[in-house]
Subunit: 255 residues, 2 copies
Protein backbone atom coordinates (compact mmCIF):
# COMPACT_ATOMS: atom_id res chain seq x y z
CA UNK A 1 0.00 0.00 0.00
CA UNK A 2 1.30 3.44 -0.89
CA UNK A 3 2.57 5.61 1.97
CA UNK A 4 0.26 8.44 2.93
CA UNK A 5 1.34 11.83 1.60
CA UNK A 6 2.77 14.27 4.14
CA UNK A 7 0.96 17.60 3.94
CA UNK A 8 2.59 20.68 5.50
CA UNK A 9 0.09 23.34 6.60
CA UNK A 10 0.91 26.96 7.36
CA UNK A 11 -0.74 30.39 7.15
CA UNK A 12 -0.17 34.03 8.00
CA UNK A 13 -3.10 34.75 10.29
CA UNK A 14 -1.54 32.65 13.08
CA UNK A 15 -2.33 29.20 14.40
CA UNK A 16 -5.34 30.61 16.29
CA UNK A 17 -7.17 31.67 13.10
CA UNK A 18 -10.39 30.03 11.97
CA UNK A 19 -8.98 29.75 8.43
CA UNK A 20 -6.17 27.34 9.32
CA UNK A 21 -8.52 25.22 11.45
CA UNK A 22 -10.73 24.83 8.39
CA UNK A 23 -7.75 24.00 6.21
CA UNK A 24 -6.62 21.30 8.67
CA UNK A 25 -10.05 19.67 8.58
CA UNK A 26 -10.15 19.85 4.77
CA UNK A 27 -6.72 18.15 4.51
CA UNK A 28 -7.31 15.52 7.22
CA UNK A 29 -8.71 12.86 4.81
CA UNK A 30 -5.86 13.39 2.32
CA UNK A 31 -2.73 12.48 4.24
CA UNK A 32 -0.58 12.82 7.33
CA UNK A 33 -0.56 16.43 8.47
CA UNK A 34 2.08 18.69 10.00
CA UNK A 35 1.17 22.24 11.06
CA UNK A 36 3.86 24.91 11.45
CA UNK A 37 2.24 28.34 11.73
CA UNK A 38 3.05 31.78 13.13
CA UNK A 39 2.35 32.36 16.83
CA UNK A 40 0.82 35.77 16.00
CA UNK A 41 -0.73 37.44 12.94
CA UNK A 42 1.78 37.99 10.12
CA UNK A 43 -0.48 39.49 7.46
CA UNK A 44 1.25 41.64 4.88
CA UNK A 45 4.65 40.15 5.65
CA UNK A 46 5.21 39.23 2.00
CA UNK A 47 8.29 37.08 1.45
CA UNK A 48 9.99 38.39 4.60
CA UNK A 49 12.45 36.17 6.47
CA UNK A 50 13.91 36.72 9.92
CA UNK A 51 17.65 37.27 9.83
CA UNK A 52 18.34 39.92 12.47
CA UNK A 53 16.62 38.02 15.29
CA UNK A 54 16.59 34.40 16.38
CA UNK A 55 13.48 32.29 15.87
CA UNK A 56 11.48 30.34 18.41
CA UNK A 57 9.68 27.10 17.62
CA UNK A 58 7.19 25.58 20.07
CA UNK A 59 5.35 22.28 19.97
CA UNK A 60 1.68 22.91 20.71
CA UNK A 61 -1.58 20.95 21.00
CA UNK A 62 -4.10 22.75 18.85
CA UNK A 63 -5.51 20.21 16.39
CA UNK A 64 -6.40 16.78 17.70
CA UNK A 65 -3.96 14.08 16.67
CA UNK A 66 -1.84 16.38 14.50
CA UNK A 67 1.76 17.43 15.11
CA UNK A 68 1.64 21.19 15.43
CA UNK A 69 4.23 23.90 16.06
CA UNK A 70 4.13 27.66 16.39
CA UNK A 71 6.98 29.79 15.12
CA UNK A 72 7.83 33.32 16.22
CA UNK A 73 8.69 34.40 12.66
CA UNK A 74 7.07 34.92 9.29
CA UNK A 75 5.19 32.39 7.11
CA UNK A 76 8.36 31.87 5.02
CA UNK A 77 10.30 31.19 8.24
CA UNK A 78 7.65 28.57 9.10
CA UNK A 79 8.24 26.78 5.79
CA UNK A 80 12.01 26.86 6.21
CA UNK A 81 11.85 25.56 9.80
CA UNK A 82 9.42 22.82 8.78
CA UNK A 83 11.65 21.60 5.96
CA UNK A 84 15.10 22.00 7.44
CA UNK A 85 14.49 21.52 11.17
CA UNK A 86 11.34 19.45 11.71
CA UNK A 87 10.86 17.17 8.68
CA UNK A 88 14.50 17.33 7.56
CA UNK A 89 13.10 16.65 4.11
CA UNK A 90 10.29 17.79 1.88
CA UNK A 91 6.56 17.24 2.36
CA UNK A 92 4.48 15.84 -0.51
CA UNK A 93 2.30 18.97 -0.56
CA UNK A 94 2.36 22.37 1.11
CA UNK A 95 -0.89 24.24 1.71
CA UNK A 96 -1.16 27.73 3.18
CA UNK A 97 -4.22 29.54 4.53
CA UNK A 98 -7.08 29.65 4.42
CA UNK A 99 -6.36 33.37 4.49
CA UNK A 100 -8.91 35.75 5.93
CA UNK A 101 -9.09 38.16 2.96
CA UNK A 102 -8.29 38.25 -0.75
CA UNK A 103 -4.86 37.54 -2.17
CA UNK A 104 -5.99 38.04 -5.75
CA UNK A 105 -4.22 40.25 -8.28
CA UNK A 106 -1.21 42.22 -7.04
CA UNK A 107 -1.99 41.24 -3.44
CA UNK A 108 0.02 38.09 -4.08
CA UNK A 109 3.17 40.17 -3.55
CA UNK A 110 2.20 41.45 -0.09
CA UNK A 111 0.70 38.19 1.08
CA UNK A 112 2.37 36.08 3.73
CA UNK A 113 -0.01 33.23 2.84
CA UNK A 114 1.10 33.20 -0.77
CA UNK A 115 4.76 33.82 0.05
CA UNK A 116 4.73 30.58 2.03
CA UNK A 117 3.45 28.82 -1.10
CA UNK A 118 6.04 30.56 -3.30
CA UNK A 119 8.76 29.45 -0.85
CA UNK A 120 7.42 25.91 -1.22
CA UNK A 121 7.73 26.24 -5.01
CA UNK A 122 11.33 27.48 -4.68
CA UNK A 123 12.00 24.34 -2.63
CA UNK A 124 10.45 22.16 -5.33
CA UNK A 125 7.34 21.26 -3.30
CA UNK A 126 3.85 21.28 -4.90
CA UNK A 127 2.33 24.22 -3.04
CA UNK A 128 -1.03 26.01 -2.86
CA UNK A 129 -2.17 29.15 -1.08
CA UNK A 130 -5.89 29.47 -0.30
CA UNK A 131 -7.66 32.73 0.53
CA UNK A 132 -11.28 33.58 1.24
CA UNK A 133 -12.63 36.99 0.28
CA UNK A 134 -13.77 37.74 3.80
CA UNK A 135 -11.57 39.47 6.37
CA UNK A 136 -13.71 38.70 9.38
CA UNK A 137 -12.29 36.45 12.07
CA UNK A 138 -15.57 34.52 12.16
CA UNK A 139 -15.97 34.23 8.36
CA UNK A 140 -17.91 31.31 6.86
CA UNK A 141 -15.25 28.92 5.50
CA UNK A 142 -17.53 26.12 4.30
CA UNK A 143 -17.16 26.77 0.57
CA UNK A 144 -13.47 27.63 0.89
CA UNK A 145 -12.70 24.43 2.79
CA UNK A 146 -14.61 22.36 0.22
CA UNK A 147 -12.65 23.80 -2.71
CA UNK A 148 -9.36 23.59 -0.78
CA UNK A 149 -9.93 19.84 -0.42
CA UNK A 150 -10.92 19.38 -4.07
CA UNK A 151 -7.95 21.37 -5.41
CA UNK A 152 -5.46 19.70 -3.06
CA UNK A 153 -6.74 16.29 -4.26
CA UNK A 154 -6.03 17.27 -7.89
CA UNK A 155 -2.58 18.57 -6.94
CA UNK A 156 -1.77 15.28 -5.18
CA UNK A 157 -2.94 13.13 -8.08
CA UNK A 158 -1.74 15.23 -11.02
CA UNK A 159 1.18 17.17 -9.53
CA UNK A 160 2.11 20.81 -10.11
CA UNK A 161 4.96 21.71 -12.45
CA UNK A 162 8.24 22.59 -10.70
CA UNK A 163 8.77 26.28 -10.09
CA UNK A 164 5.05 27.01 -9.91
CA UNK A 165 2.52 27.15 -7.07
CA UNK A 166 -1.20 27.89 -7.12
CA UNK A 167 -2.88 31.05 -5.84
CA UNK A 168 -6.46 30.05 -5.06
CA UNK A 169 -9.04 32.64 -4.01
CA UNK A 170 -12.58 31.77 -3.03
CA UNK A 171 -15.53 34.19 -3.22
CA UNK A 172 -17.39 35.08 -0.05
CA UNK A 173 -20.72 33.37 0.45
CA UNK A 174 -22.41 30.03 0.81
CA UNK A 175 -21.28 27.06 -1.35
CA UNK A 176 -24.34 27.29 -3.58
CA UNK A 177 -23.44 30.77 -4.88
CA UNK A 178 -20.13 29.52 -6.33
CA UNK A 179 -20.25 29.02 -10.10
CA UNK A 180 -17.19 26.77 -10.42
CA UNK A 181 -13.41 27.06 -10.78
CA UNK A 182 -11.55 29.24 -13.31
CA UNK A 183 -7.85 29.09 -14.19
CA UNK A 184 -6.80 32.75 -14.46
CA UNK A 185 -3.96 35.17 -14.83
CA UNK A 186 -3.03 37.58 -12.03
CA UNK A 187 -5.02 40.80 -12.51
CA UNK A 188 -3.18 44.11 -12.68
CA UNK A 189 -4.12 46.43 -9.86
CA UNK A 190 -2.54 48.64 -7.23
CA UNK A 191 -3.37 50.07 -3.85
CA UNK A 192 -4.34 53.72 -3.92
CA UNK A 193 -2.96 54.18 -0.45
CA UNK A 194 -3.92 56.84 2.00
CA UNK A 195 -2.33 57.36 5.35
CA UNK A 196 -4.49 58.10 8.34
CA UNK A 197 -2.32 60.64 10.19
CA UNK A 198 -2.81 60.93 13.93
CA UNK A 199 -0.97 62.55 16.83
CA UNK A 200 0.05 60.50 19.84
CA UNK A 201 -0.47 61.69 23.45
CA UNK A 202 3.08 63.08 23.34
CA UNK A 203 2.47 65.32 20.33
CA UNK A 204 4.24 63.16 17.76
CA UNK A 205 2.58 62.16 14.47
CA UNK A 206 2.03 58.57 13.40
CA UNK A 207 0.40 57.00 10.36
CA UNK A 208 -1.89 54.06 9.68
CA UNK A 209 -1.66 52.56 6.20
CA UNK A 210 -5.08 52.34 4.58
CA UNK A 211 -6.21 52.39 0.97
CA UNK A 212 -8.44 51.31 -1.86
CA UNK A 213 -7.60 48.57 -4.31
CA UNK A 214 -7.78 49.98 -7.83
CA UNK A 215 -7.73 48.31 -11.19
CA UNK A 216 -8.07 49.35 -14.80
CA UNK A 217 -7.54 45.74 -15.96
CA UNK A 218 -10.82 44.79 -17.63
CA UNK A 219 -9.68 41.36 -18.86
CA UNK A 220 -12.14 38.52 -18.36
CA UNK A 221 -9.23 36.13 -17.86
CA UNK A 222 -8.13 37.68 -14.54
CA UNK A 223 -8.62 36.40 -11.02
CA UNK A 224 -10.45 39.63 -10.19
CA UNK A 225 -13.01 39.01 -12.93
CA UNK A 226 -13.52 35.39 -11.84
CA UNK A 227 -14.08 36.38 -8.21
CA UNK A 228 -16.48 39.20 -9.09
CA UNK A 229 -18.48 36.60 -11.02
CA UNK A 230 -18.48 34.12 -8.11
CA UNK A 231 -15.91 31.71 -9.50
CA UNK A 232 -13.04 30.27 -7.48
CA UNK A 233 -9.88 31.68 -9.11
CA UNK A 234 -6.72 29.59 -9.58
CA UNK A 235 -3.62 31.45 -10.77
CA UNK A 236 -0.48 29.41 -11.52
CA UNK A 237 2.17 31.55 -9.84
CA UNK A 238 5.89 31.39 -10.50
CA UNK A 239 8.92 32.75 -8.69
CA UNK A 240 10.75 33.64 -11.89
CA UNK A 241 9.99 37.36 -11.99
CA UNK A 242 12.02 37.97 -15.18
CA UNK A 243 10.22 40.08 -17.78
CA UNK A 244 11.63 37.86 -20.53
CA UNK A 245 9.94 39.89 -23.27
CA UNK A 246 12.05 42.94 -22.39
CA UNK A 247 15.48 41.35 -22.56
CA UNK A 248 15.95 42.08 -26.26
CA UNK A 249 14.90 45.75 -26.06
CA UNK A 250 17.15 46.37 -23.05
CA UNK A 251 20.03 44.99 -25.08
CA UNK A 252 19.71 48.13 -27.19
CA UNK A 253 20.87 50.24 -24.23
CA UNK A 254 24.51 51.04 -24.89
CA UNK A 255 27.15 50.95 -22.20
CA UNK B 1 14.25 74.54 -19.86
CA UNK B 2 12.92 71.15 -18.82
CA UNK B 3 12.17 70.65 -15.16
CA UNK B 4 14.69 68.51 -13.30
CA UNK B 5 13.52 64.94 -12.70
CA UNK B 6 12.56 64.04 -9.14
CA UNK B 7 14.42 60.94 -8.00
CA UNK B 8 13.14 59.04 -4.96
CA UNK B 9 15.86 57.11 -3.13
CA UNK B 10 15.29 54.32 -0.62
CA UNK B 11 17.01 51.13 0.56
CA UNK B 12 16.71 48.33 3.10
CA UNK B 13 19.97 48.65 5.01
CA UNK B 14 18.73 51.90 6.68
CA UNK B 15 19.59 55.53 6.08
CA UNK B 16 22.89 55.07 7.96
CA UNK B 17 24.28 52.56 5.44
CA UNK B 18 27.24 53.35 3.22
CA UNK B 19 25.34 52.00 0.20
CA UNK B 20 22.61 54.64 0.25
CA UNK B 21 25.16 57.41 0.77
CA UNK B 22 26.90 56.23 -2.40
CA UNK B 23 23.60 56.05 -4.28
CA UNK B 24 22.74 59.62 -3.23
CA UNK B 25 26.06 60.90 -4.58
CA UNK B 26 25.62 58.94 -7.82
CA UNK B 27 22.14 60.44 -8.35
CA UNK B 28 23.01 64.01 -7.32
CA UNK B 29 23.95 65.16 -10.85
CA UNK B 30 20.80 63.62 -12.39
CA UNK B 31 17.93 65.46 -10.69
CA UNK B 32 16.28 66.69 -7.53
CA UNK B 33 16.53 64.05 -4.84
CA UNK B 34 14.23 62.89 -2.05
CA UNK B 35 15.40 60.23 0.41
CA UNK B 36 12.89 58.14 2.39
CA UNK B 37 14.65 55.20 4.02
CA UNK B 38 14.17 52.86 6.97
CA UNK B 39 15.43 54.05 10.35
CA UNK B 40 16.94 50.61 11.03
CA UNK B 41 18.10 47.63 8.94
CA UNK B 42 15.23 45.91 7.09
CA UNK B 43 17.13 43.25 5.16
CA UNK B 44 15.13 40.20 4.19
CA UNK B 45 11.83 42.03 4.62
CA UNK B 46 10.72 41.16 1.09
CA UNK B 47 7.52 42.89 0.05
CA UNK B 48 6.33 43.28 3.65
CA UNK B 49 4.09 46.18 4.59
CA UNK B 50 3.15 47.39 8.06
CA UNK B 51 -0.53 46.98 8.79
CA UNK B 52 -0.74 45.92 12.42
CA UNK B 53 1.30 48.86 13.74
CA UNK B 54 1.32 52.57 12.98
CA UNK B 55 4.27 54.08 11.10
CA UNK B 56 6.55 56.92 12.11
CA UNK B 57 8.10 59.34 9.62
CA UNK B 58 10.87 61.74 10.70
CA UNK B 59 12.57 64.54 8.77
CA UNK B 60 16.32 64.18 9.20
CA UNK B 61 19.51 65.92 8.06
CA UNK B 62 21.75 63.23 6.66
CA UNK B 63 22.70 64.26 3.12
CA UNK B 64 23.67 67.89 2.52
CA UNK B 65 21.01 69.86 0.70
CA UNK B 66 18.68 66.89 0.21
CA UNK B 67 15.25 66.39 1.76
CA UNK B 68 15.53 63.21 3.80
CA UNK B 69 13.17 61.22 5.98
CA UNK B 70 13.42 58.07 8.02
CA UNK B 71 10.51 55.69 8.33
CA UNK B 72 9.93 53.13 11.08
CA UNK B 73 8.63 50.54 8.60
CA UNK B 74 9.77 48.44 5.68
CA UNK B 75 11.21 49.56 2.33
CA UNK B 76 7.77 49.15 0.72
CA UNK B 77 6.28 51.34 3.47
CA UNK B 78 8.94 53.97 2.61
CA UNK B 79 7.82 54.00 -1.03
CA UNK B 80 4.14 54.26 -0.07
CA UNK B 81 4.77 57.10 2.41
CA UNK B 82 6.94 58.95 -0.12
CA UNK B 83 4.29 58.78 -2.84
CA UNK B 84 1.10 59.23 -0.86
CA UNK B 85 2.21 61.39 2.08
CA UNK B 86 5.34 63.36 1.12
CA UNK B 87 5.29 63.93 -2.65
CA UNK B 88 1.55 63.38 -3.04
CA UNK B 89 2.41 62.32 -6.55
CA UNK B 90 4.91 60.16 -8.37
CA UNK B 91 8.65 60.73 -8.75
CA UNK B 92 10.26 60.54 -12.21
CA UNK B 93 12.50 57.69 -11.09
CA UNK B 94 12.81 55.47 -8.03
CA UNK B 95 16.18 53.97 -7.07
CA UNK B 96 16.77 51.58 -4.21
CA UNK B 97 20.06 50.53 -2.63
CA UNK B 98 22.88 50.24 -3.07
CA UNK B 99 22.31 47.04 -1.14
CA UNK B 100 25.13 45.50 0.87
CA UNK B 101 24.94 41.99 -0.61
CA UNK B 102 23.63 40.19 -3.68
CA UNK B 103 20.02 40.28 -4.77
CA UNK B 104 20.64 38.11 -7.81
CA UNK B 105 18.59 35.03 -8.71
CA UNK B 106 15.86 33.98 -6.27
CA UNK B 107 17.12 36.53 -3.71
CA UNK B 108 14.94 39.07 -5.47
CA UNK B 109 11.97 37.60 -3.57
CA UNK B 110 13.47 38.08 -0.10
CA UNK B 111 15.00 41.45 -0.83
CA UNK B 112 13.66 44.63 0.72
CA UNK B 113 15.78 46.62 -1.74
CA UNK B 114 14.16 44.97 -4.75
CA UNK B 115 10.67 44.95 -3.21
CA UNK B 116 10.87 48.76 -3.01
CA UNK B 117 11.64 48.78 -6.76
CA UNK B 118 8.82 46.30 -7.47
CA UNK B 119 6.44 48.53 -5.48
CA UNK B 120 7.58 51.43 -7.67
CA UNK B 121 6.75 49.36 -10.75
CA UNK B 122 3.28 48.56 -9.37
CA UNK B 123 2.80 52.32 -8.96
CA UNK B 124 3.87 52.92 -12.57
CA UNK B 125 7.21 54.54 -11.68
CA UNK B 126 10.43 53.64 -13.56
CA UNK B 127 12.31 51.87 -10.76
CA UNK B 128 15.70 50.27 -10.26
CA UNK B 129 17.22 48.29 -7.39
CA UNK B 130 21.01 48.23 -7.08
CA UNK B 131 22.99 45.68 -5.08
CA UNK B 132 26.71 45.14 -4.58
CA UNK B 133 28.04 41.61 -4.01
CA UNK B 134 29.69 42.59 -0.74
CA UNK B 135 27.93 42.33 2.62
CA UNK B 136 30.46 44.37 4.58
CA UNK B 137 29.35 47.67 6.06
CA UNK B 138 32.55 49.29 4.78
CA UNK B 139 32.38 47.74 1.27
CA UNK B 140 33.99 49.54 -1.71
CA UNK B 141 31.07 51.10 -3.62
CA UNK B 142 33.07 52.92 -6.31
CA UNK B 143 32.20 50.61 -9.21
CA UNK B 144 28.62 50.14 -8.00
CA UNK B 145 28.03 53.90 -7.75
CA UNK B 146 29.45 54.42 -11.22
CA UNK B 147 27.15 51.84 -12.82
CA UNK B 148 24.17 53.07 -10.77
CA UNK B 149 24.67 56.51 -12.30
CA UNK B 150 25.08 55.16 -15.83
CA UNK B 151 22.03 52.89 -15.65
CA UNK B 152 19.85 55.56 -14.03
CA UNK B 153 20.82 57.95 -16.87
CA UNK B 154 19.65 55.39 -19.46
CA UNK B 155 16.41 54.83 -17.54
CA UNK B 156 15.73 58.59 -17.43
CA UNK B 157 16.41 59.07 -21.14
CA UNK B 158 14.87 55.87 -22.53
CA UNK B 159 12.26 54.99 -19.90
CA UNK B 160 11.38 51.54 -18.55
CA UNK B 161 8.26 49.75 -19.75
CA UNK B 162 5.31 49.93 -17.34
CA UNK B 163 4.99 46.97 -15.00
CA UNK B 164 8.73 46.28 -15.04
CA UNK B 165 11.64 47.40 -12.87
CA UNK B 166 15.34 46.58 -13.10
CA UNK B 167 17.29 44.34 -10.74
CA UNK B 168 20.92 45.46 -11.04
CA UNK B 169 23.71 43.57 -9.29
CA UNK B 170 27.33 44.67 -9.34
CA UNK B 171 30.29 42.34 -8.78
CA UNK B 172 32.62 42.97 -5.88
CA UNK B 173 35.91 44.59 -6.73
CA UNK B 174 37.54 47.66 -8.20
CA UNK B 175 35.98 49.26 -11.32
CA UNK B 176 38.71 47.92 -13.60
CA UNK B 177 37.75 44.27 -12.96
CA UNK B 178 34.24 44.81 -14.34
CA UNK B 179 33.80 43.48 -17.86
CA UNK B 180 30.64 45.42 -18.77
CA UNK B 181 26.87 45.12 -18.41
CA UNK B 182 24.74 42.08 -19.31
CA UNK B 183 20.95 41.95 -19.63
CA UNK B 184 20.00 38.63 -17.99
CA UNK B 185 17.23 36.43 -16.77
CA UNK B 186 16.79 35.66 -13.06
CA UNK B 187 18.80 32.54 -12.24
CA UNK B 188 17.07 29.60 -10.57
CA UNK B 189 18.50 28.85 -7.16
CA UNK B 190 17.42 28.20 -3.61
CA UNK B 191 18.77 28.51 -0.11
CA UNK B 192 19.86 25.22 1.41
CA UNK B 193 18.99 26.50 4.84
CA UNK B 194 20.38 25.29 8.08
CA UNK B 195 19.30 26.46 11.48
CA UNK B 196 21.90 27.13 14.12
CA UNK B 197 20.11 25.83 17.22
CA UNK B 198 21.16 27.32 20.57
CA UNK B 199 19.82 27.33 24.08
CA UNK B 200 19.16 30.61 25.90
CA UNK B 201 20.25 31.20 29.52
CA UNK B 202 16.78 30.07 30.60
CA UNK B 203 17.03 26.66 28.96
CA UNK B 204 14.82 27.42 25.94
CA UNK B 205 15.94 26.69 22.38
CA UNK B 206 16.21 29.32 19.68
CA UNK B 207 17.32 29.22 16.05
CA UNK B 208 19.39 31.42 13.75
CA UNK B 209 18.59 31.10 10.06
CA UNK B 210 21.74 30.41 8.05
CA UNK B 211 22.34 28.63 4.77
CA UNK B 212 24.12 28.17 1.47
CA UNK B 213 22.85 29.46 -1.82
CA UNK B 214 22.57 26.56 -4.25
CA UNK B 215 21.96 26.43 -7.94
CA UNK B 216 21.81 23.80 -10.64
CA UNK B 217 20.99 26.44 -13.27
CA UNK B 218 23.94 26.38 -15.65
CA UNK B 219 22.53 28.87 -18.18
CA UNK B 220 24.94 31.53 -19.44
CA UNK B 221 22.03 33.98 -19.70
CA UNK B 222 21.47 34.20 -15.93
CA UNK B 223 22.43 36.98 -13.55
CA UNK B 224 24.46 34.45 -11.56
CA UNK B 225 26.58 33.61 -14.61
CA UNK B 226 27.12 37.29 -15.44
CA UNK B 227 28.22 38.11 -11.89
CA UNK B 228 30.57 35.12 -11.67
CA UNK B 229 32.18 36.41 -14.84
CA UNK B 230 32.50 39.97 -13.49
CA UNK B 231 29.68 41.54 -15.45
CA UNK B 232 27.09 43.88 -13.97
CA UNK B 233 23.77 41.98 -14.28
CA UNK B 234 20.52 43.72 -15.23
CA UNK B 235 17.33 41.63 -14.93
CA UNK B 236 14.06 43.20 -16.11
CA UNK B 237 11.74 42.20 -13.26
CA UNK B 238 7.95 42.17 -13.37
CA UNK B 239 5.27 41.94 -10.72
CA UNK B 240 3.04 39.71 -12.84
CA UNK B 241 3.91 36.35 -11.29
CA UNK B 242 1.47 34.37 -13.46
CA UNK B 243 2.96 31.23 -14.99
CA UNK B 244 1.08 31.94 -18.24
CA UNK B 245 2.44 28.79 -19.90
CA UNK B 246 0.60 26.60 -17.38
CA UNK B 247 -2.88 28.04 -17.82
CA UNK B 248 -3.85 25.67 -20.61
CA UNK B 249 -2.63 22.49 -18.88
CA UNK B 250 -4.42 23.44 -15.64
CA UNK B 251 -7.60 23.82 -17.65
CA UNK B 252 -7.48 20.04 -18.04
CA UNK B 253 -8.12 19.60 -14.31
CA UNK B 254 -11.75 18.69 -13.98
CA UNK B 255 -14.01 20.07 -11.30
Amino acid sequence: MAEKPLILITNDDSIQAKGIANLVEAMRPLGDLLVVAPDKPQSGMGHAITINHPLRLKKVSVFEGIDSYTCSGTPVDCVKLAIYEIIKGRPTLLVSGINHGSNAATNVLYSGTMSAAVEGAIEGIPSIGFSLLDHHSGADFEAAAHYAGEIAKRALSQGIQKGVCLNVNIPKGRPEVIQGVKICRQGTAFWEDSFDKRTDPFGVDYFWLTGDFNSTDKGEDTDMWALENNYVSVVPTQFDMTAHHLISSLNEWEF
